[in-house]
């Protein structure tokens, strides 16, 4: 597409302005997390911490047992990730690479659960887990991931599997390979990038989950980072230096994971959106 210099210049300026707007909250977060309270409260606001108050992070993370929250979060996040990747890819294989009667109908029925508000299943699920004696444990947060890993992920992987040429399987069938071998030796390795997308979404999804832990976890010692941060906010209302330091510490791992895997992220979102 040909673009005039003027239009390009205007667009460029707009992009820069928007980027600044999007980045300011991060800068505000960082600068507040490294300032002492008196500098935070100066008006008009200053941007550069003087001195750099690195101690904020140590204080913020030791007032509450954030190391325990971190461990809890990691246990949940990694368990969910393994279950999601394993079972969603197996299901997606069954919904795309095997021909069977009723396949697409079953898939369509499963897809409807994407429109169902979580609020509808929330209360009976809670009562069910409670009845089984698993209230205030990690199980309600982890176990569902081992049953298909969410229809969204199955959908995403199925979209990807459908793009792999059929000849691959047919050649393997001629060689006498079973479905398991086709899945494990051909499709699984070929779909590495899509699986990484699912793994990344799963990581962020459970790292960021707030309502799940809020409903199922009661004891402080089982709290996740998200719950811990919320608890922190409740008890240190005006301590913006510590609050921002704790928030920055919770945000940082997500940013790192994103920056490492960003190529896959953008691919993955594109994959889901293409079939509108």
């Amino acid at each position: 597409m040909r673009q005039s210099k003027l239009a390009l210049g205007a667009g460029y300026s707009a992009l820069i302005l928007i980027s600044i707007l999007f980045i300011i909250p991060f800068i505000w977060l960082l600068r507040s997390s490294l300032m002492n309270l008196s500098q935070i409260f100066t008006m008009p606001p200053e941007w550069i911490p003087a001195p750099f108050q690195w101690d904020n992070f140590r204080r913020a993370l030791t007032v509450l047992p954030f190391d325990v929250f971190f461990t809890n979060t990691m246990i949940i996040v990694l368990s969910v990730l393994v279950g999601t990747v394993a079972t969603s890819s197996i299901a997606a294989f069954g919904f795309s690479r095997i021909q069977w009667k009723g396949r697409d109908t079953v898939f369509a029925i499963l897809m409807t659960s994407m429109m169902l508000p979580f609020a509808v299943t929330m209360i009976p699920s809670f009562l069910g887990w409670k009845m089984l004696g698993f209230y205030d444990t990690f199980y309600p947060l982890i176990v569902p991931a081992y049953f298909g890993g969410g229809i969204f992920n199955i959908f995403l992987l199925r979209q990807f599997y459908l793009t792999i040429p059929r000849d691959f399987d047919e050649a393997a069938v001629v060689d006498g390979a079973s479905y398991f071998q086709i899945y494990w030796k051909i499709i699984f390795p070929l779909s590495r990038s899509a699986l990484i997308v699912v793994a990344l979404f799963s990581f962020l999804g459970s790292w960021n989950d707030f309502m799940g832990p809020l409903i199922y976890l009661k004891s402080d010692k089982l709290f996740t980072l998200a719950l811990g941060l919320q608890m922190f906010q409740g008890s240190y209302t005006a301590q913006w230096d510590l609050l921002m330091a704790a928030s920055a510490a919770v945000v940082l791992p997500c940013v790192i994971v994103f920056l490492i895997g960003q190529r896959y992220f953008l691919e993955g979102i594109t994959l889901t959106g293409l079939k509108g």
């Binding site: 095997i98 169902l116 609050l243």
Partner: protein
Amino acid sequence: MRRGLWYGLLFTAPAILGFIIFTLGPMIASLALSLTDYNVFKEQTSFIGFDNYTRMFSGEDDLFYKSLGVTFYFVVLRVPAVIIISFAVALLLNMNVKGRAMFRTIIYLPSIVPAVASAMIWMWLMNPDLGLLNSLLGWFNLPGSNWLYAEGSVIPSVVLTTLWGIGSTVIIFLAGLSGIPHSYYEAIDVDGGGWYSKLRHITIPMVTPTLFFNTIMTIIGSFQVFNEAYILTQGGPNNRSLFYVFYLWRSGFRDTEMGYASALAWILFIIIMAFTYIVFKTSKSWVHYEGGERP
């Protein structure tokens, strides 16, 4: 083929079981619960027919209408804002400019920030006395706002905080835009049309399937907003941000009226279905599919 059915079911069994155990089962249970007065702290639970629903619609529970109003207001404000801004940003990102990848990263980055952390950041930005937003307004000699802490401004403020996270909507638009063949634009160049006719006759019609997808997902998401209500406002001030799902959670888990909360959940489900249905129905007249009859 028989072999296929057996293996097909085997591979999809975890997902199908998961659907039955974690979606279908709870759904039916929820419908049943909504017809009872189940309360965790009450000895007895009895079947009360549609009493929960009557209680909602008769106005006996005025918070029901209140929360419905708050949520509708939020949806009406947020959906067009998200769609228009995301589309505009995607158009900009679709230009052939240097540093596109960097801009894209910056715009997507906020959407991965955990809701709790994002809420903390925005509470601090919107702090009426010491927050950055009021200082910025001050520089331009504009009066400050009480943002999340005033009845009139709380919902627009929550909308503003969620606009920070439009990244994935933008990326989906961008995918739709990059799928438009260049030759289409060249045809307009030949006809001597400018950027406006390109936008009006090529870009917008071609991007309607993506627009459709994004609109539905944004509507569904906006009706279910919870974290913002719980962390930012707790429904205040004066119930002006009593979001529907927050109210539902409060009824079920704080007031332990789980029968009633289940009825609330079903009404939400019906509302979301209705909206999705309307968008689907109207989509025939405005969504353009490649190879369809409409140019």
